[in-house]
Symmetry: D2
Subunit: 337 residues, 4 copies
C-alpha cells in the first residue's frame, strides 16, 4: 500500500501514522518529494483498513499495490480452477463450458420435468430452477420452497442433469444436501453470514455479482467463502445497475475478461436476467462465448398454454436450442484464433 | 396498471393476454387508438408481475398507476407515523427529531462508555455502535459480536441512552432482546429472509437504503417487515453508488423529500457513511435538517491516543457537539418558515 | 402518448389539460378506471413536451407509445441502411463490416503513414486519427489541428484508405472537405448546434454515444442530423460511465442489439476507448462481432522506440492483425448460425 | 504523481519509463519495496498523460498527488473569489448570495417582463431565461434565439435585474454583449471549443456540471476558461445521472462542500433541473443554503391562463417568494453557527 501525505501535514502527525502502521507488524518506507511525502507500506497490508487511512486529514490518497484477495487471486494460483459438479462428468472452467438452463421458478412436477427433458435434448448440461425466490415485493410469489427442491431432485433423477438452485437462508442448508450447485443471488452477494456458512460446505457455489458491486467486491465475496474452507466457486456476471433503461440491467462483458485476469475461478454469464428481454438473450450469449465465458445460465420455460409469455425474459425450448447451436459455433471459432 | 400494446400485435395474442389477466381476478378496460391498444387493469394489481408483462413481445410498455406498497403508503395512512424507542421518552417522526451518535465499532468497555457519556452530554438522544460488522473483506475486523452487544447494554445502563446496533443474521435475534432499535445495513436491505424475521418482532427497525436501490425498493423492503406484522420502521438514506469518487457515496437528499411524500414512516440521514469524510459531515447534517429529515446518525469516536484518526469518517466528541448545535439551529429556522 | 391522471385530480383540471392537448392538433381518448383516469393522446405526439406533462401535479405518470425519433426509426424504414464511405468500395451496414484503425492522435507524417500502411496490411478498411483532440485538461496536447488533417489526407493518398477524424467546431468544416467520415465525439453528442451544421453536409457522420447518454438520446442526436438533411449516420457504442473502475468505462454491448431493433442505421463498437486497456480490446472486439456490430474502431500505434507504451490503450500493428483475424473468424461463425 | 510498478516488471522496461518521464523535464524518485517498485514523479506533472501511464502493462496503478487544475485551485488562491455581476451591486461568492429566477424559456415580451417584475418583488437578484434552448429532440421548441435575448434585455431595462442566459455556439457571442452572465449548459460542459472562446471574454460565466461529470472534471472545464484569460467563473451543481428515477437527476449536495474545499470559485445550486418537480424545489433550496451554497437558480413562470402547469418543474411567483423567505431564514441560522 502506498500512502500519499498532504503537503502541509505536520511532521508529528506523520510520525504518529507511521508508528500506528508499524504497530501492526508492517514495515514502512518513506520518500519525500517536492510536493508530498509518500509512505510505502510493506508486509501483509490486507489487514490495514484502507478506508480509515484514506479518511485521515493528513492523507492525500491511498493506493493498494497488492489486491486484498488471496485465495481467489490468480497471482498465487496461476492455473485455471476446474470446478467439478455432481458425481461425474460436468466440469466448469479451463475450457470446460457449462450450459445451464431452466425456468425462473419451479412451478409443478409436470413443468420442471418437461423443461428438464427439453433443455437436455437441446444441449443443456445443468438444470436451473428457483425454489426459494427473492422478490422485491412481499406480495409476489415466493417460490415452492422445500417442495420446489424436491421437484428439482426428481427432474435430476429423470434426466441425469445436475441441478443449481438459489439459497436465501443458511438455515435451509439441510434442504440443499442433494443439490449439486448452490446459487447465491445478486441481492445476497454481500450477505456475509450466508457466505461464511457456505464456506463450511464443500458444495460448488455459484455466486452472482450484485447490481451495484464492483468486480473486486465480487472477488472479496468469493474470498469469504474460500477463507471459510470451500474453494469450489463459480462467478457469474448478470448485469449492473446503470442509468440505461432499455435493458433491465447493463451486462458488463468486460468483467469476464477482467475476472479471468484477476482470478483462476471460472466465470459464467446470465444474459436472461441482465437484459430482461428474451430476444436479446441470443446475441448476448454469443458475445459472452466470444469473449471467453466459461458457461451460460439461461431461463427457459415450456408452457405452451400460456402462449402470451412468448417474448418475456424466458426462451422457449426451441429458441434455447437455437442459442446453444450459436454459442457452440462461436466457441469453436474463438478457440481456433 | 396500464399496458400499452404494440401496433402490429395480433388480435389473438391480445385476447390471450386479457384472459390471463382476468384469470387473476382483475378486470380490464381496453381502448384503441391510432397507434396502439391500451389495456387498463383494474383491481389489486400488486399481484401482477410487471416484469413478466413488460417482457411480452406484444407489449410496448407498462406503467403502474398504484404503487405496489401498501402498509408503508401515505395514501392509506396520511398521518406521519411516530416510532417509540425504548421504554420512555425517545420518539422519531412527526416533528420528533432523533440524534444518534456513537462509534463505528464497539471496541472495549472503556471506549463505548466514554463515547456514550460524551455524546449524551453533546445532545445525542440515542447511542449507536457496531457489534456485528459487515466487512467487504473476510480478513477485516468482524466486530466483538455478542460481547459488543453486552458492552452497548452496559453503556445504556450507565447513560440511559437507548441503543441501536446492526443485525446480520436472524439467528442472532435472541441477543438483541434488550437492544432498543435493530439496524438492517445497506447490504442486507434486500435480505428478505432477515426482513421477514424482523417483521415477527415488535422492535423498531432502522433500515438503510442499499447502495444501488431505488427509493421504491427501500419502501418495498419496509413493506416486507410491515407485511410480517411489525410497523415500527425508521428509514435511512445513506448515499447511493454513482460514478463520483470525491465522496464515498453520493448522498441523495432529495430522497428525504420524496420519501416524506410517499410514506408516513420517519426518514433519517447518515452523513458519515454517505460522505466517508469527517469534515463533510457537518454541512451534510445541516442540509439534511434543512430539508426535513427526522433525525441523523453520526459516527463519533473518543480516542485521543490514536490522534492520527482526526479527519477520518468519525467525528471527535467536541466536533459532534458543534454539529448538534448547528443542526438544531437549522431545524429551528426551518420550522418557522 | 398515454397520460395517467392521479386519483384525486379535480375534473376541472383534467378538462384544462385535455383542452391544452387538443389545442395542439392532437386528439384524446379518455378512459376511467377504479383508481385513475387515463388519457390516450392520438396524433403526432412528438411535439408534446413529455417533461412538462409528467411534471403536472394531476399527472401520475406518462408513457410514450411511439418513439420521438422518426428518420432514424426502423418502424418507418424497416431495411438496414448502408452507408457509402468515400468514392468507391467501402460500405457500412447490412452485412458490410468496417474495420477502422489508427492512432489516437496524428503526431507526424512518418507516424501516420507508417501506421496507415501497417493497418491496411493487417486488414483495416478505414484509417482513424485525431487532429482536433478534446482533452479534459487545457494543458494536455490538443492535436495538430489543420496540419493533422493534411497528414491524414496524405496517408489516404498513400494507402487508398478512407479517413475518419473528429470535428469539435462547425467553423472548422471547410477543413473537412476531403475527409471521408466526420466523427462526433462522446462529449459533443448533445452539441446540437454542431449536429445541425453536420446535417447540412452530405458527409457520413460517425456519432459516438455520450458517457451518460441513453440509447434513445443517441438516436435523438442522430435525428438532429437527419432532420437537417443528412441521413448518412453511423452510430458508435464506446462505453458508458458507471461505478465500476476496473475498465475506464463500461462497454454496453446490449446497446448494439437494442439499436439494431430500434433503428436501420449501422452500429459500430469502440473497444479501445470503452476499456482503456489494450489487452481487453481483443476479447471485446470478438464479443462485438458476435452480437452483430457492423464494424469496429480500434486504436493502433506504430512506435517501436517508445517501447514503454506496450500495454496502453493502443495496440501494436501485429496485435491488431491478430484482432482482425479473430473478429473475422467470429463473424464467419455468427453468420452461419 | 506516484507510479506503482508491477512486481514482475523487467528492469529494462522500468528504465525506459523513467527515461521517458525525465525527457519531459520531470524528476523521478524510485523506491523499491517487497512487492513493488514505486516511482515518484516530481515537477509539473500536469503535462503527464495519466491515462497513458496507467495503461502501461508494467504499471499497477497511478495516483496523482497534485490536482491537474491550477487557476481554479484553492491551494494557490486560498481566499474565496467574488464575482462581480453587471455594473453595480450584484456580487457572488464569499458571503454574497445570489438568487437567480425566471422562466425556462423566454416566450414573449409580456411573459418575461411580468415574471421579471414578480421575481424581483419576491427577492430575486438576477433574472434567468432561455433564448437558445438545448433540446434532446430536434422537433421540440428551440427558443426565440436573438429575439429572446432582446426581450431579456428589455426586462433588464424595466427591472434593473442583471440577466443570465445560455450560449450554445461561440458564433453567437456578439448577441451576448449586453448579457451580464453567460451560462454554459450541462450538455456543453466539455465543449472545449466553446469554453476557450468564453475564456477570451471578461464576462462572468455560469458553468453547469455535466450529467455524467465528476467534480474534478467540472473544475477542469473551469480551468479551460481561466487558462484562456477569464477568471470570472460561477460553478453550478444541477444533479447527476444515476439509476434513481424518482427525481429527474440526483442532486449531489456534497459537491457544494467538496468544491468549496478544492476551489475558490463560488458554487450555486439549481434545484429545479436537478429534481424536475416543483414541489421538491423548496426543500432542496433550503438544503443547499444550509450546506453553504453561494446562490440558487430557480425556474419561475407566471402564466395563470395555463393553469394546468401548476406542479410542473417551475414555481409560480408566490411559491418562489415562499422559497426566498425559507432560504434566507436558513442562511441566517447557518451563519450564526
Amino acid at each position: 500500500m502506498v500512502i500519499i501525505i498532504k503537503q502541509n501535514a505536520k511532521e508529528e502527525r506523520i510520525r504518529d501514522l507511521i508508528q500506528w502502521i508499524e504497530a501492526q507488524d508492517l514495515r514502512t518506507h518513506v520518500s519525500t518529494g517536492d510536493y508530498s511525502t509518500i509512505i510505502g507500506v510493506i508486509g501483509d497490508t490486507s489487514k490495514l483498513d484502507e478506508g480509515l487511512v484514506s479518511g485521515l486529514d493528513i492523507v492525500e490518497g491511498v493506493k493498494r499495490v497488492s489486491e486484498p484477495f488471496k485465495s481467489a487471486n490468480r497471482k498465487f494460483h496461476p492455473l485455471d480452477s476446474i470446478i467439478q459438479v455432481g458425481q461425474e462428468h460436468v466440469k466448469v472452467g479451463h475450457g470446460n463450458f457449462v450450459m445451464i438452463a431452466g425456468p425462473c421458478s419451479v412451478e409443478s412436477e409436470e413443468q420442471i420435468i418437461s423443461v428438464a427433458k427439453s433443455v437436455k435434448a437441446s444441449g443443456a448440461t445443468m438444470l436451473r430452477g428457483g425454489a426459494f425466490k427473492p422478490r422485491t415485493s412481499p406480495y409476489d410469489f415466493q417460490g415452492l420452497k422445500a417442495d420446489g427442491i424436491e421437484l428439482l431432485l426428481e427432474a435430476k433423477r429423470e434426466t441425469g442433469l445436475p441441478i443449481v438452485t438459489e439459497i436465501m437462508n443458511a438455515n435451509h442448508l439441510p434442504l440443499f444436501e442433494d443439490v449439486d450447485v448452490i446459487q447465491v443471488g445478486a441481492r445476497n452477494m454481500q450477505n456475509f453470514e450466508l457466505l461464511k456458512e457456505l464456506g463450511k460446505t464443500q458444495k460448488p457455489i455459484l455466486i452472482k455479482r450484485g447490481l451495484a458491486n464492483t468486480i473486486k467486491e465480487l472477488l472479496m465475496s468469493a474470498e469469504y467463502i474460500m477463507a471459510s474452507g470451500n474453494e469450489n466457486i463459480i462467478l457469474c456476471e448478470r448485469g449492473i445497475r446503470t442509468f440505461e433503461t432499455a435493458t433491465r440491467n447493463t451486462l458488463d462483458l468486460s468483467a469476464v475478461t477482467v475476472l479471468h485476469e484477476l482470478t483462476h475461478l471460472p466465470v459464467i454469464v446470465d444474459p436472461s436476467h441482465a437484459t430482461g428481454v428474451a430476444r436479446y438473450v441470443k446475441p448476448m450469449a454469443m458475445a459472452a462465448a466470444a469473449c471467453g465465458a466459461d458457461g451460460l445460465i439461461i431461463e427457459v420455460h415450456n408452457d405452451p398454454p400460456r402462449a402470451l409469455c412468448d417474448g418475456a425474459q424466458s426462451l422457449r425450448p426451441e429458441q434455447f436450442e437455437d442459442v446453444v447451436k450459436a454459442v457452440y459455433a462461436i466457441r469453436a471459432a474463438a478457440q481456433e484464433v
